[in-house]
Symmetry: C2
Subunit: 280 residues, 2 copies
């Protein structure tokens, strides 16, 4: 696929994920967060385009591209973390989509070819983004000496992700060659075809949230809260309209509970669906 | 300026214009039209990126690029007219921004170098887009024989725009080397600095609408309605909050009155401001 088309699909995935509403607890078309606005997410998606294009052209390593994307936020005047998780999923997907074989095959080879340099650049990007995840055993992302340890033990970025797979949804995708993103992309296509674009994205988000607790909620509020949110998402799915989703949205916003990792998964699923065949 | 940066500024101008709310009578973050949704405008902005990039690289003529951009809508499954006016302003601006001298100087030379081929491609694009403007004297855009007349009389795209300058805001910008867009870009910077991004864009839109009646309203509903809308925009500006703007928005939507040309001007002003210095 042409590099521009890949970049467009990746950028559109971010923007459609952002624009669908109500997407309980996340910034969406209808509400901002106190510290980050809808417009800032739009700027972040615009800033990522050249990085996605370079990923599709296969010019540079994943770690360097993630770091470049986070540096681009700062050049555009963005101060917080907007799309760190989404970039970590979409950049390898964009690299895979730029290659000739099927996405399922190419993504494996992209992930398996990551290096120690990718891991180090990822650390730098993580630090610059001010991202939040649970600690990763010996390679705590809060620990500045981790880089030396990475080098000494020759850990690649894929190795690092495997260490985090049980407590971070993004790392889980890396460790399973994006198994769940591919599954969700099929559900997404069915939901969009049945309910239309906005409602289809919202229902896929609710399904994803109901099936596996969000790891960002877990890192901030613990397992019990994450499980309760998933149970409520399952309930909201029973309403074929969007009023139960709107109710859940109000409650999560009031408590500052943000299923951000699930939103990242939806962006990845949108990318896969757009790359394969999704049209509106 | 680098081609990617130019394309990003142009795309972001479309997306920020779209996302600001309430922008009375237009599709915005808070409401769709019956026949075209917020998401379709997002897809349209994503589809335009490679065209803006090519414009900045100076590879192709304006008419061909406008036609290419409208063809891209169809490839992305968009069936209606989303950004025809905005593209007609932003493509020459992107070409100018890709050149070395100041935007005010380069835009003149870009417009003055348009050809008969640009005029013919513009006609084709206009037809494909299903755009709406008032007729242009001997060169009615509804008239299929107009292309032959254009060729016979060797009219360039700039000539064509000059014929429409009194009854179309976009053509007026072409005929005056974007005089009003440059003026509004300064106002926009002041408003964004004073009121923040969203409110700053909304107030600049209201000011533009109050100063000169919208030509799309005029083409659809006549001069009187266009003048009344401008008077109401002037009143809404007296409210430093956004509730008067919200009231005007509700009324215009109920009557299907859409100041679309003024929205195109705001996109052009955002582009100029972003190219010069605007940051958030």
């Amino acid at each position: 696929m042409m590099a521009d088309r890949v970049a467009q699909n990746a950028q559109l995935s971010m923007l459609l994920e952002l624009s669908s509403s109500p997407k309980p607890g996340n910034v969406d078309r209808c509400h901002d967060f106190r510290d980050v606005s809808f417009q800032q997410f739009v700027i972040s998606a615009v800033s990522a385009y050249p990085v996605f294009r370079r990923a599709a052209l296969g010019e540079v390593g994943i770690g360097e591209l993630i770091l470049e994307a986070v540096k681009a936020w700062r050049e555009w005047g963005l101060t917080g973390n907007t799309h760190f998780g989404s970039l970590t999923l979409l950049i390898p997907l964009a690299m895979a989509a730029g290659r000739p074989k099927a996405l399922e095959i190419e993504i494996k080879s992209v992930l398996e070819s990551t290096t120690v340099a990718d891991a180090i650049n990822f650390y730098k990007a993580f630090d610059l983004a001010g991202a939040r995840v649970a600690d990763v055993g010996d390679f705590s992302l809060k620990d500045k000496t981790a880089m030396d340890a990475l080098k000494a033990q020759e850990k690649t970025l894929l190795d690092l992700m495997k260490l985090s797979k049980d407590h971070d949804l993004v790392a889980r995708e890396w460790s399973t060659a994006f198994q769940r993103s591919f599954y969700l992309s099929k559900t997404l296509e069915e939901n969009v075809s049945r309910y239309g674009l906005n409602c289809g994205v919202v229902r896929t988000f609710l399904l994803a949230l109901s099936e596996i607790p969000d790891s960002l909620i877990q890192a901030k509020f613990g397992e019990n809260v994450a499980l309760q949110v998933s149970a409520r998402a399952a309930l909201a799915l029973k309403d074929e309209g969007l009023s139960a989703a709107s109710g859940l949205d109000r409650d999560l916003l009031a408590e500052d509970i943000n299923p951000g990792s699930t939103a990242d998964l939806i962006a990845a699923s949108l990318f896969i669906a757009l790359t394969k065949s999704l049209r509106f």
